[in-house]
């Protein structure tokens, strides 16, 4: 009764663990495994409280062998379970990539559709907190490039819960990429806009539907994950200068909602793509190409991508902050596009 219309504000980490708990209650085939996900509750809080409720059989701490437990996840999924496996940092994918892209991503196809692989791999992404080059990458495109995987990256708690439930119920392997700096952890700075009102009941957010988080008419800014918040900060600054930016949160990379982006650019004529992943061969190139392929005449100005330069992520705080996309870089790009002098 009291919660019929919830005004409860959850952090992303709590939204994720609540989604998992609700699906575990309703479906006995759902279980979780990974490094430090049980007793510790996940180093980024995504599985907090699950061990107490569901016990060791369904919430399993694993040894430090991604090769073994991601592979076990694929096998369990093909045997009829719905495993959620945490790859602690996406940067660690190297030792389990065969299981991800040769087994999980392909087995449905190789079996002629006779086997399903309803596996969720959740993994922490992102930098900005001086954790160096093998703990700070986002690697969106590395996985989005591979056919057979769905790839999602929520920017806020509401989407984090709904996308997690969609991921668990999906019969295909889903890479659920959550940004550490959005989790709402007390020991890491996070944008307060990442926490928002999350309904108590289980609900889904569909894959392949981008969200226009700020409608505008002058320039389209496409982003995902943490960069949605940077784009919104830039849009707030641009508004003071009379520029009306439209901000699109893609929410899922595979499937990709090209239509929403194309419609937006048809209206604004200007396109900026912001991605914390490396610049070359990435999401930014894919979005710009999708628009250009559809209608090269839609653009009134050259499109711009604001992404991480093609260098390993520096540990040094000033160097990392210099390299990361931020609101100011987005603002300057928009002003240039509109033929205004950047302040």
């Amino acid at each position: 009764m009291a919660n019929q219309q919830s005004n409860r504000i959850l952090t992303v980490s709590r939204a994720m663990s609540e989604a998992i708990a609700q699906e575990m209650r309703s479906d006995p085939s759902v279980f979780v495994m990974g490094e430090d996900i049980a007793t510790y509750g996940g180093i980024f809080g995504a599985t907090a409280g699950l061990l107490d409720e569901f016990g060791e059989a369904r919430v399993r701490d694993t040894p430090i062998s991604e090769t073994a437990f991601i592979g076990a996840g694929v096998g369990a999924a093909m045997a009829g379970m719905r495993p959620i496996v945490e790859l602690m940092f996406v940067d660690f994918f190297g030792v389990c990539m065969d299981a991800i892209y040769n087994l999980a991503a392909k087995n449905t196809f190789f079996s002629g559709g006779n086997c399903k692989v309803p596996l969720v791999i959740m993994t922490a992404t992102g930098g900005g907190y001086s954790d160096a080059g093998q703990h700070s990458q986002t690697l969106h495109a590395t996985f989005a490039h591979l056919p057979g995987l769905k790839v999602i990256a929520p920017s806020n708690a509401y989407d984090a819960k709904g996308l997690m439930i969609s991921a668990i119920r999906d019969d295909n392997p889903v890479l659920y990429m959550f940004h550490k700096g959005l989790q709402g952890l007390a020991w890491m700075a996070w944008p307060e806009t990442a926490a928002n009102v999350v309904p108590d009941e289980a609900y889904t957010v569909p894959f392949g539907e981008a969200k226009i988080v700020r409608p505008g008419k002058d320039v389209t800014i496409v982003a995902i994950s943490m960069m949605v918040h940077r784009a919104m900060e830039a849009a707030a600054e641009l508004e003071k200068q009379g520029v009306d930016a439209e901000v699109i949160d893609l929410r899922t990379l595979v499937p990709l909602d090209r239509e929403t982006v194309i419609k937006s650019v048809a209206k604004t004529g200007r396109l900026i793509v912001v991605d914390e992943d490396y610049s070359s061969y990435g999401m930014s190139a894919e979005i710009i190409t999708s628009v250009a392929e559809h209608d090269p005449g839609a653009l009134k100005a050259r499109p711009q991508r604001i992404a991480f330069p093609d260098i390993p992520i520096p540990y040094s705080r000033p160097m990392e902050q210099w390299a990361l996309p931020n609101a100011d870089k987005i603002r300057v790009a928009a002003q240039e596009m509109l033929g205004r002098k950047a302040a």
Binding site: N7, I9, R14
Partner: protein, 79 residues
Amino acid sequence: MADVRIPDDLWDTSKTPEGIVANWFYRDGSEVPANETIAEIMVEKTNYEIAAPAAGTLRITVPKDGVVRPGTVIGRIEG
């Protein structure tokens, strides 16, 4: 009216005298149900949940990131 109070024995203050309000899960002025987790406190790297002592309207007196000790009143529930 009920105080939202950090329990006296929540952590060992001889080792760590202070903690912070890590998060509020309802905005100031929200209606909250009794026993619902409404805030979390962080001490070193340990989080503690604080539940609403009663149903009613939440008034926050120590905001997010505010420093707290066992016994600190961080808000009240007006009924």
